[in-house]
Amino acid sequence: MEVQAGKYDIIVTGAGHAGCEAALAAARMGMKTLVVALNLDAVALMACNPAIGGTSKGHLVREVDALGGEMGLNIDKSFIQIRMLNTGKGPAVHSLRAQADKKRYQEEMKLTLENQNNLSLCQGEVVEIRTSGGRVSGVKLATGEVYSCRSVIVASGVYLKSRIIIGEYSVHSGPNGLFPANRLSENLKDLGFRLQRFKTGTPARVNKRSLDFSKMIIQPGDPAVPPFSFLNRLLQREQVPCWLTYTNEETHQIIRDNLHRSPLFSGAIEGVGARYCPSIEDKVVRFHEKKSHQIFIEPEGLHTNEMYVQGMSSSLPVEVQRAAYRTIPGLEQVEIMRPAYAIEYDCIDPTQLKLSLESREVAGLFMAGQINGSSGYEEAAAQGIVAGINAVQYLRQEEPLILDRSDAYIGVLIDDLVTKGTPEPYRMMTSRAEYRLLLRQDNADMRLTEKGYRLGLAGEERYQRLYSKQEAVQRELSRLKDAVVAPSKRINEYLKGKGSSALKTGIPLYDLLKRPEISILDIVLLGELQDEIQPEIQEQLEIQIKYEGYIQKQLRQVEQFKKTEKLRIPPEMDYSKVTGLKLESIQKLQKLQPENMGQASRISGVSPADLSVLMVYLEKQRREKKNSEA
């Protein structure tokens, strides 16, 4: 029985971190949007660790926020601990990380979706994406309703044919006992997608009352760090600590003795796991010389006693898990509330997507999040907002938003997935970003808010804040260049105290700040600045002056990079017609259909000579076209 149930511009399947951002972006940009999710109690579910951010992931959250997304605002509402990581290192790698109250995070996000104009939320399972003439025309739910729409965003997470494995036990299930989506996989195959099978896992949740914190090391939050969202000012809130403890030889022995019962080693798991998210059995086997591993105990929320045991992800049988956990100091009496498990699921080969995240197979079909082979809430949200924006651009018949590797971590993420594909669940890392000194978390607004504003997503308030920030930075920069500090007894004593050499003549404050041992705070303390400058402006001044040399270096690299990114390759190129290309390169280029020369250059095995030949060919095509038009 089929029922015509309604008509939308855009339908999003899934309300996880990708689906929420996609749907909010679409609705905020004026499209009538429907979100269909398997279970509305699982909106923005944090199925694994109760934390947002971390190295490079914190950057992604800031970028999503700068474009006008929700993740930053939502974690600001619901964090129970916040820290800035890597403060001892350079500014490029400072990263925010927050512990979330999981339930609160979900409730806030769900409420935001519910309150959003143009947005409807409904519980159901999408089993079919309908097309007509190669374009999306609607979706069908398991219950028979058919919705028509012009664009679909698939953000189905780990739910496609998912299977949970705990030791010898396995069950077709989504995370946390939720239903899996068993039928959409086949439909995606019919639409022309190549599916892969990935695996991930999560540790046990344990009862706080069964833990002995006196045997652990307390890990408090930072007293005052900026929030995630550029819309928020410093948030003062009482914070909850995490706890650190360690595994030992006894733990490892139990794991070794029971390896034959682990589905990872017995072959019961076919999915490919991620190297950066190893189970404890992986760690013990691969790094057998390591006598102990760190375990962080993280709170799941303020209104629960459940604690997350970071570092003990496992797919061993429950009784082995219990025995192993109980060897860890502070966990001797531990009561496991939810056991650790491994989960396997279907995802697509992301090289079948364009840089806009639209499928090359079906017009109007966008994919975001774990379906594309990524992992992590932040990676999902980043793709979600881009897919949401580009679904709207598709309907508007306007150019898609494509962030490149020098614009944003989002650009690195999408380019990596789409250009290279991924053999394992993909996690963002700062090392993946070649231009990371320019892609800092502190300047995400300066990089992206204008783009978000022009698209009609970032609001007026964001734009005004950006504008005044940029203006203040420019003003103060030129002031620091002009303001000369004269040598005086007071100043030279101060400098001496800092281990800095005394001034003999007057120098601009700008130059003084370039000294490694002098910080912007020193300039403030010296009373050389006329007015009070906001901390965020101080930060910009300090970074832009101190690291000017390296920033210039990266800007020059980016200039070269941009030139090749601008050289577009027409869609549906027939590479077999290009004489002089290596056969291997023809095959790869044919399959991946890069959108520009830069993307082509990042395909492994495509040599500089191939690129030169290709450039000549494209120029030839262009001239032939011009001649025939003339």
């Binding site: 190295t55 890597n86 490029a92 998210c277 760190q294 992800s313 492994s604 000549v616 120029e619």
Partner: protein, 459 residues
């Protein structure tokens, strides 16, 4: 990958010629050349006139004269590539050409890829459409040629040493990056001091490689060539023929022993140092009397062995033996006395060896041209020498080392200025990239593989 930076290359065919032309193309051509050039009065030229031939000198960093040259500046777009072009006309021969190219690389020019000038000419509209296919063929065939020759070079120990420095840089990067991406793991990070030490070592390695490559052992000392063969096979005649045809540079009788005579000859611009056993009394059979050990010693560090066989006599047991122990060496087999009725044909030997075989006669001069041609190609395709010697560098290796050395210097300066380690990685990445092959490998993937291989990470 850059499309419009300043590139340089030798524009005339390599080898001995009266003059050689080095071409620069790109926006900084004039600035780069201008920094190295002084006029006849040894003054810097402030402003170069377009299409005007300047007489003067190229100076190195220490203001020593490298060569007396003519320089011409051609302004875009009226040039072959439609970019700014500078041509430097210097003396032919390898030494001035290589030195000037090195200086230009140090000024920041990039060695042109095969066919790159022509590619630019086409992309900038200088070459018409009909020739497009030709340009594409040129690029791919030239690149293949370059790839083949660089593949041969990869066997060399220079390549291995470069790779060792590169691997070390990857290791340093992995150790820095792992603490950046995993600040909460209990991994002992590297401190500035350790990194400083490893970067300094790498820089020293680059410098010493550059020094040996810079002068190029083969250029400095010549190709060490040993002539061997049984008595009366024509060894002295071969040496005399080569000396007679080519300008002998030095005749040297080293040491007190007259066992070995050393001659330097210049074959098509290649310096060849020939060690001849002609001085050994004729009754003394090299293989039998001195024995295999002595012959091994003589040929051990030879870049090329000329093995003479008497084509008018059938192969004997000991000929086989010689062929056998020369198997791993760079050998050219000469079937001499081809003017007489032949008892050995090249086909008889081909199954015993991979070496090139040439029929020669010292009486009528048959095959001498081919021998000279062979020696010349050996040097320019980079195949000369035993497999374990530091070979003449091809310019790409040198370019790699020059760039790497510069980036290492920048990294060390940054460390000295207390820059955070994660910023210094920008320079270290450049070192790695500079030392890379021309095959478009990805640093990030190598780096991430290394991180996860070496460290236990993750939740």
């Amino acid at each position: 990958m850059a499309w419009d930076d300043t590139i340089t290359a030798l524009a005339t065919p390599p080898g001995e010629g009266g003059i050689a032309v080095i071409r620069l193309s790109g926006p900084e051509s004039l600035q780069m050349a201008g920094r190295l050039f002084v006029n006849g009065k040894r003054r810097k030229v402030k402003e170069f006139r377009e299409r005007y031939l300047y007489y003067g000198f190229i100076l190195d960093q220490d203001q020593n004269t490298v060569d007396e040259v003519l320089l011409v500046y051609m302004k875009a777009p009226r040039t072959y590539t439609r970019e700014d072009v500078v041509e430097i006309h210097c003396h032919g021969g390898m030494i001035p050409v290589r030195k000037i190219l090195d200086l230009l690389l140090q000024e920041g020019a990039r060695l042109a890829q095969p066919g790159e000038f022509t590619k630019r000419a086409f992309l900038n509209g200088r070459i018409d459409l009909a020739q497009a296919e030709g340009v594409m063929d040129l690029i791919s065939s030239k690149s293949e040629e370059a790839a083949r020759s660089s593949l041969q070079q990869m066997e060399g120990s220079l390549s291995r040493e470069i790779k060792a420095v590169r691997d070390d840089m990857l290791d340093v990067l992995a150790r820095i990056e792992v603490t950046v991406d995993y600040p909460e793991e209990d991994i002992e990070g590297m401190v500035g001091e350790q990194i400083h030490k490893r970067l300094s070592t790498a820089r020293e390695q680059c410098r010493s490689l550059l020094k040996s490559a810079h002068q190029g052992r083969l250029i400095r000392e010549g190709i060490k060539t040993v002539i061997i063969g049984k008595p009366n096979v024509g060894k002295s005649s071969l040496l005399n023929a080569l000396v007679r045809e080519n300008r002998a540079i030095v005749t040297d009788i080293p040491g007190t022993t007259r066992d070995v005579i050393e001659e330097y000859v210049n074959i098509k611009g290649v310096l060849v140092r020939i060690l001849d056993t002609a001085g050994i009394r004729e009754t003394m059979d090299l293989v039998e009397k001195i024995g295999v050990e002595k012959s091994r010693e003589l040929t051990r560090d030879a870049d090329l062995i000329l093995l003479l066989l008497d084509a008018s006599h059938p192969l004997e047991e000991e000929d086989m033996k010689i062929l056998q122990w020369l198997k791993d060496k760079q050998v050219l087999i000469l079937l001499n006395k081809s003017d007489r009725p032949s008892a050995i044909e090249p086909e008889d030997i081909e199954m015993l060896t991979d070496s090139t075989i040439i029929k020669t006669s010292m009486i009528d001069g048959t095959g001498l041209d081919q021998v000279e041609e062979f020696i010349y190609h050996l040097v320019y395709s980079g195949g000369a020498g035993p497999k374990n010697s530091v070979m003449i560098t091809n310019s790409r290796h040198k370019e790699a080392l020059i760039r790497a050395e510069r980036h290492l210097g920048e990294a060390l300066d940054a460390l000295a200025a207390s820059m955070p380690l994660d910023l210094v990685t920008i320079d270290i990445r450049n070192v790695w990239e500079a030392l890379g092959e021309i095959t478009g490998e990805s640093l990030t993937e190598n780096l991430i593989d290394k991180i996860f291989m070496e460290f236990c990470l993750g939740k």
